[in-house]
């Protein structure tokens, strides 16, 4: 059908050189005689993203750190972004690739709006699209070095899932990326339940973010929480958690066993 061809052409336009459109080599500094394979290394990276469903929708949290190897180079990087009216995307990994993905998603939303038929893309649609984007890049051995988290509510249906740089994708009632998989998911498994209120959900996420701040060297104590409900996406201003260091055991831990730590 002709409209299908148009759709395919639009995808080629978007995917062409990730973004460029008419001339994919406009910004290439070399013209190779054989196909280039990339598989890069990440430079500026974001750490864990955490997400849970709750009674009225979905909550997603992430800190605002942009690490550069072991240095916390940028301390105000927004890793949670709204997509359309119903969805939020959070990213772990290379921030330049996340910025490119946001532009790709922007194109998707705009192109869809141009059909002018009151159809909007919901979380499952964005998830499916992102999966195709990530998997296709992986097949070109030129991945977007990110794990993306995707959450939202549309028509009363709550949705939450992940897509990795290899194109692995899944949905669940609670998900995490990066270090959060190891430290936060077990807490979710124990303490999450279906009817959590906004306050209970927030407390659970903050508990896990605190653990990550203590135990993930890339994490900083400056985070944002996003609340997605039927009414839309709301991302909080960055804020910090109260930390606790005044345990007796912390003040003189090596008395009696010098050289210990």
């Amino acid at each position: 059908m002709r409209w299908e061809e148009e759709g395919m052409k639009q995808n080629a336009f978007i995917m062409g050189n990730k973004l460029m459109g008419s001339n994919p080599h406009a910004f290439s500094l070399i013209m190779p005689s054989i196909p280039i394979t990339h598989t890069q290394t990440p430079y500026v990276t974001g750490t864990s993203v955490l997400g849970i469903k709750y009674k009225d929708g979905v909550l997603i949290a992430a800190d605002t750190a942009g690490s550069y190897g072991s240095t916390t180079r940028y301390k105000s990087v927004e890793r949670l972004r709204p997509i359309g009216q119903n969805t939020l995307v959070g990213a772990t990994g290379e921030m330049s690739d996340f910025q490119t993905i946001l532009q790709i998603l922007d194109r998707l939303i705009i192109t869809n709006a141009m059909f002018d038929d009151d159809n909007t893309l919901g979380p499952p649609d964005i998830h499916s699209y992102l999966n195709r984007v990530m998997y296709n890049q992986r097949n070109k051995l030129d991945p977007f070095w990110n794990t993306l988290m995707l959450g939202g509510v549309k028509n009363g249906v709550k949705y939450l899932g992940n897509v990795t740089m290899l194109g692995l994708h899944y949905v669940d009632d609670h998900v995490a990326t990066g270090f959060g998989i190891h430290l936060a998911q077990p807490i979710f498994r124990n303490e999450w339940n279906e009817d959590m209120t906004l306050e209970q959900g927030t407390k659970l996420l903050e508990k896990c973010m605190l653990v990550l701040f203590y135990r993930d060297r890339s994490a900083i104590n400056k985070m944002q929480i996003a609340n997605i409900t039927e009414d839309g996406v709301k991302i909080s201003e960055p804020y910090a958690l109260q930390t606790k260091w005044d345990y007796e055991a912390f003040s003189n831990p090596t008395v009696g066993n010098e050289g210990s730590w």
Binding site: N17, K18, M20, F27, S28, L29, I30, I36, H38, Q40, T41, P42, Y43, V44, T45, T47, G66, Y68, G69, T71, R73, Y74, V77, T92, G93, E94, M95, S96, Q99, T100, W145, N146, T147, T164, M165, L166, T177, G178, F179, I181, S218
Partner: protein
């Protein structure tokens, strides 16, 4: 599997240079040292690492000298055409986006950490960082190069928003001087470029006129010749 485990641990490079740009109340100040090294040899002790892209936008370059020269040449060329077609001066954001696009699309070939800064009538003074990988970040101030490692603590403590032009320039010169004091790959003179609505001003702070820090002594006579 997870992005945090992997090759970046063995991919550390030293990027000779200290570069910096600061937004102040009315414009921007760009600053850089002047040392270019090939290995341990100082190939040029008076280089100019602050390159003009348009009348109102400048670029600080760190990393591979060749890579950053090529990127700045292309961006200067694109912006020249863009300005003619647009009919008015290019914005800092446009210049920064072009730099980012080159850095991002060619990330596997380039070793270029750059800072784009300038003044336009829409956003006033703006500073954009384009680190390795091609992330684009608008910031109130940015640093780069191997010398920048020594500045994080100082900047965390000393930087304030809305500095005046003179305060901001003193701040930049002091920062670069501190980095030069500790980073072997940074040295020479401190060059600054101030860009605001009135135009552009270049300044030069000679190596022997920079502030002295811990355990550094002023030049003087040999104590044996008293």
């Amino acid at each position: 599997m997870e992005p945090m485990a992997g090759e970046w641990t063995s991919a550390a490079h030293s990027m000779g240079t200290t570069i910096m740009a600061v937004e102040y109340n009315g414009g921007v100040i760009l600053g850089a040292d002047s040392r270019t090294t090939t290995g341990v040899y100082v190939a040029n002790r008076a280089s100019d690492k602050i390159t003009q892209l348009t009348d109102n936008v400048y670029l600080c370059r760190s990393g591979s000298a060749a890579d950053t020269q090529v990127v700045s040449d292309y961006v200067r060329y694109f912006l020249n055409q863009h300005t003619i077609q647009l009919g008015r001066e290019a914005t800092v954001k446009t210049a920064a986006t072009l730099v980012k696009e080159l850095a991002y699309q060619n990330k596997s070939f380039l070793q270029a950490g750059m800072i784009v800064a300038g003044w336009d009538k829409y956003d006033g003074g703006s500073v954009y960082a384009v680190p390795l990988g091609g992330t684009l970040l608008r910031l109130p101030f940015a640093t780069g190069g191997s010398g920048s490692s020594y500045l994080y603590g100082f900047l965390d403590q000393a930087w304030r928003p809305q500095m005046s032009k003179d305060e901001a320039e003193r701040f930049v010169v002091k920062s670069i001087a501190l980095a030069i004091a500790r980073d072997g790959a940074s040295g020479g003179v401190v060059r600054t470029v101030t860009v605001n609505e009135h135009g552009v001003e270049r300044n030069f702070f000679a190596g022997d006129k920079l502030p002295l820090f811990h355990e550094e002594i002023p030049p003087g006579r040999n104590s044996l010749l008293a």
